[in-house]
């Protein structure tokens, strides 16, 4: 039996059936990590011994009948901006290079309660700022489909780890597309829930009003099962929402009959790669064949989403990241004269270029005299974008579109032109601005043999509709993920 290409839910079933143990699954994936990491570099930290120990404990609890959940015994990778007690959590930044949290994030806690085996922490763009995982202080992550290409970002490590079978599923975080875009680039399935669904307690904030933790997995079924576990009300997070309708796996039905699906015409215009466009059209056709009613419409305001997003996210980030100052934890510069010099040198040396760029941008838009012109205007734009979605959801159950304008670019291409990189977020950021749930799933491969992702966006709290549409679409997909290990060897 090939353990590694099992989905998380299937693996757990086999473990619960005594076909194999959590220990064997963990050993298999640790072996895969050992053989692939030098090529892909998905992880900042791998905790082999802790994982083995946890696997033993989990296996015992499965055997005793204590753990029966759908993900019991399954090894998971966690994005390195999600705090894990006793396990280094760096945000892929030098400034948190030595930071070991004394607490575990609500989302990771929920998984561990259900018998997850934590393998380690995945690489990311520094503080989740970037779309390529190239801004990590700890080196780039490479795309398992072609190591010359980026895995996307910022959850590039999580998505690449799932694609490279260096874990069975992973946690990512999504502020402007950071789960969905790398999922598309790596040919995996990633979901961003409605804002407030997953606890942000212990998620090191980038843009607090936009950040959501979500699953990265091999298919829609896994995503639904993971999200069902993650979606618990957490009183430690004031923005956490009490929800009754979190039985997401109940929506895993092959049924879109009569579902109204809108495709924003604005998403199919200039800047969209034609092969990606063809995949979206193919997905639309497939859903139509399954009984959905698909039509194009004008969403409007799409061109304002990126500026609004970068103003709001950077503003919040400039404040969120001010706590990293060398006083309490993390990196402190070696030599300094006095407090202000210490602050200045620590932060100059501790943060990378992209982070500094966004801190400066964020500080600027919050400055007195500019606050109204930039920050308030961005907030108003955000509200208008939400209204545009509200109008769309009066007519449609879900919105279908591309996840990203193109497939994964080559390493080193994006950072040269940050503005162009920012424009790559065009189809994802408005979802965060409106707080909506969305899934990205692979639906095609381009002529460079890179995967193409399509995105399904739902109305607030309508994850189930998104999952139902995603699951149905997935069933129509003829394409299968090629064998990772072969890919790794061929390309690496």
């Amino acid at each position: 039996m090939d353990i590694l290409n099992l989905t998380a839910v299937r693996l757990s079933e086999k473990i619960k059936n005594n076909d194999l143990t959590a220990i064997e699954a963990t050993e298999a994936v640790l072996k895969q990590i050992a053989s692939c990491e030098s090529t892909y570099h998905c992880y900042v930290t791998v905790e082999e011994e802790k994982a083995r120990e946890q696997a033993k404990q989990v296996q015992k609890r499965i055997e005793s009948g204590e753990l029966t959940g759908p993900l019991a015994g399954v090894p998971v990778a966690i994005k390195d901006n999600i705090c894990t007690k006793g396990m280094r959590t760096t945000c892929s930044s030098r400034i948190l290079g030595n930071f070991v949290p004394t607490y575990t994030a609500g989302a990771a806690e929920a998984l561990e309660k259900e018998g997850a085996v934590v393998l380690g922490k995945t690489n990311m763009d520094e503080f989740a700022m970037g779309s390529t995982t190239e801004t990590s202080y700890y080196g780039v992550t490479r795309n398992p489909w072609n190591p010359e290409h980026v895995p996307g970002g910022s959850s590039g490590g999580s998505c690449a780890a799932v694609a490279a079978e260096e874990c069975f599923y992973a946690l990512g975080s999504d502020t402007g597309g950071s789960i969905r875009q790398p999922s598309a680039f790596c040919g995996v399935t990633g979901m961003k829930p409605t804002y407030g669904t997953v606890s942000r307690y212990g998620l090191i904030a980038y843009g607090s009003s936009l950040d959501q933790i979500g699953p990265v997995a091999k298919d829609v079924t896994d995503c639904a099962a993971i999200l069902e576990i993650l979606a618990v009300y957490d009183p430690r997070d004031s923005t956490s929402v009490k929800r009754e309708d979190t039985d997401f796996t109940s929506a895993l039905t092959n049924d879109v009959k009569g579902m109204r699906i809108g495709i924003p015409r604005d998403y199919l215009g200039e800047g969209l790669d034609l092969q990606v466009k063809a995949s979206v059209e193919l997905a639309a056709k497939a859903l139509e064949e399954q009984g959905a009613i698909v039509e194009e419409f004008d969403l409007s305001l799409v061109e304002y989403a990126i500026p609004a997003y970068y103003v709001i996210a950077s503003a919040e980030a400039s404040s969120n990241l001010s706590r990293f100052d060398g006083v309490k934890y993390g990196y402190r510069t070696e030599e300094y004269q006095g407090l202000h010099n210490m602050y200045k040198k620590t932060r100059s040396e501790g943060f990378g270029q992209e982070v500094k760029r966004r801190i400066m941008l964020g500080s600027f838009v919050l400055s007195s005299g500019y606050y109204d012109a930039y920050y308030l205007k961005a907030l108003r734009t955000k509200a208008l974008i939400k209204q545009a979605f509200d109008r769309a959801f009066e007519k449609y159950d879900v919105i279908l579109g591309p996840t990203a304008p193109s497939t994964a670019p080559k390493l080193g291409e994006s950072l040269k032109d940050p503005l162009k990189m920012y424009l790559g977020d065009i189809y994802t950021v408005s979802v965060n601005l409106a707080g909506l749930p969305a899934i990205s799933l692979p639906y095609g491969i381009d002529n460079q043999n890179l995967p193409i992702g399509v995105q399904i966006i739902g109305n607030s709290f309508q994850e189930k509709t998104v999952i139902r549409a995603g699951y149905t679409l997935e069933q129509t997909r003829e394409w299968q993920m090629p064998d990772t290990r072969e890919r790794g060897q061929n390309n690496g």
Binding site: I82, Y201, P235, T239, S318, F324, D325, V327, L339, S368
Partner: protein, 477 residues
């Protein structure tokens, strides 16, 4: 001829709220713990930690707002005030700028010039910072986050005060209101109430404001009065010399009775305030507001009137008793037990205040239990002890909260009520003092006082002087 100037003063008063836990986490607000023992990831600004608002803070802020005739913003929110300083673990303070919880209120103060309203611009909620401890021997500073996240309200007045006297009256009014609400103990010395004074001067009759300064580090009413006097004179001297007043923050040194500039307007930081995305807006429903209104305790003015009416306490005494929540609480609790309001009032107004003054303490420092004072009153009423002994026993109660019954018993202080024994002693005194007896009998009635005194002396004070007097009168007839 020198111009006549008018002083214009506005106050920013910070009050530490008496919640058990901090404003955004469950840590204790208790004073005096070992450094960094009342801390958690939230109040030390650890990555990924999030604030969760303490409901009690909102209720106290609403209560203070209602008691100071404020409007309540039924939808209000928190903003971040961004600045770097090591006592501020997140490098931003969670405060309220755009929508403070209370606004546009007033309180009435009374001074020698009569009653006057002082406007309250706003009251907002915020978190306190930690404390920096500078190592005098080493080359470093240490941070204690125990105070970090302790809830504060900041009460911002309108520039309506014109003298130190008005400022003190305003602060006293606020202190009493907040103490009566139980929202804070308002101790200036201990920092649970802090006042920054904004002061400017202008020519009398002018309707424009002069340039103001802000004075910090004022730890007592006396320091505030001195600082106002000092700053007024400093600004007047500047203007008289034809020099401008610079808008700046100054620090008052009460030992040297002068102030020093801390920072000028030019160095003023841009705090880059923006709504805190980690906290949801606070929605105060009509029901919640009404509930707080209904739960408002009796405030000072109402209490004062009730004391006069219900207990027949004179205005002056009622003012003193209600001038401290603590004193009023002891008065009511003791009266409830012994049903003798006048006696209780006498003890508190007399001995209690005398001893407080002697010990250089405030009524807030009173620590004896009403039960013991009630027992003492009972003992004197029943003639078990006389007034002189009672005062001695009260001192014990005041300092040690001693049970008076046990103390009187253990020290053998009971008045001698055995008439036979008393008569024996008096007979001896009469026999030993023929001159006084003769004086009395010849009409010098005052002579009996000497004989009473002699008897009390012989009894070592443990007799009821009334009874002695009566027996003596009988014997000398």
């Amino acid at each position: 001829m020198a111009k006549e100037y008018e002083t214009v003063i506005g106050l920013e008063v910070h009050v530490e709220l008496a919640t058990k836990t901090k404003i955004f986490c469950g840590c204790s607000t208790e004073f005096g713990g070992e450094p960094n023992t009342h801390t958690c990831p939230v109040c030390t600004g650890m990555p990924g930690s999030l604030p969760v608002l303490n409901k009690q803070v909102v209720e106290y802020a609403m209560a203070v707002g209602l008691a100071t005739n404020c409007q309540i913003h039924q939808k209000c929110k928190f903003d971040r005030k961004n600045y770097f300083y090591p006592d501020n673990p997140q490098n931003y303070q969670i405060s309220q700028l755009y929508l403070p919880i209370c606004h546009d209120g007033w309180v009435e103060i009374e001074t020698e010039d009569g009653a006057k309203k002082v406007g309250i611009h706003e009251i907002h909620m915020e978190e306190d910072a930690g404390k920096l401890i500078h190592d005098e021997w080493g080359d470093c500073s240490l941070v204690d986050f125990n105070r970090s996240g302790v809830p504060l309200i900041e009460i911002v007045s309108e520039p309506d005060m014109r003298s130190a006297q008005e400022v003190i009256a305003y602060l006293d009014k606020l202190r009493l209101i907040i103490q009566y609400l139980g929202a804070s103990d308002c101790k200036l010395q201990e920092g649970s109430m802090r006042a920054d004074v904004n002061l400017s001067i202008r020519e009398k009759g002018s309707d424009t404001f002069g340039t103001r300064t802000e004075m910090k580090n004022l730890n007592s009413f006396k320091a505030i009065a001195r600082a106002i006097e000092g700053e007024k004179n400093r600004q007047m001297d500047l203007l008289e010399d034809g020099q401008p007043v610079i808008q700046e923050t100054r620090r008052w040194d009460d030992n040297k009775e002068c102030s020093y500039p801390m920072r000028s307007k030019e160095d003023a930081q841009d705090y880059r305030y923006f709504p805190d995305p980690d906290l949801v807006p606070i929605i105060i429903s009509d029901e919640w507001l009404e509930d707080i209104r209904n739960r408002q305790p009796e405030l000072r003015t109402e209490k004062l009137e009730r004391y006069k009416k219900e207990f027949d306490i004179p205005q002056y005494d009622a003012e003193i008793l209600t001038g401290s929540k603590k004193l009023a609480d002891i008065f009511e609790a003791t009266t409830a037990i012994c049903q003798k309001p006048k006696k209780v009032s006498n003890w508190l107004m007399g001995e209690a205040l005398r001893l407080l003054k002697e010990h250089n303490q405030e009524p807030e420092n009173l620590s004896f239990s009403p039960e013991n004072l009630a027992k003492l009153i009972q003992l004197t009423e029943e003639g078990v002890i006389n007034n002189k002994v009672a005062k001695e026993v009260f001192e014990q109660i005041f300092t040690e909260d001693t049970d008076p019954e046990r103390y009187v018993e253990e020290h053998g202080l009971k008045s001698v009520s055995d008439e036979g024994e008393l008569r024996g002693v008096i007979e001896e005194i009469v026999a030993a003092n023929p001159q006084s007896v003769a004086d009395y009998k010849s009409g010098k009635k005052k002579a009996i006082g000497f004989l009473v005194g002699q008897t009390m002396k012989a009894m070592k004070g443990k007799a009821d002087p009334g009874a002695v007097n009566q027996i003596l009168q009988e014997m000398l007839q």
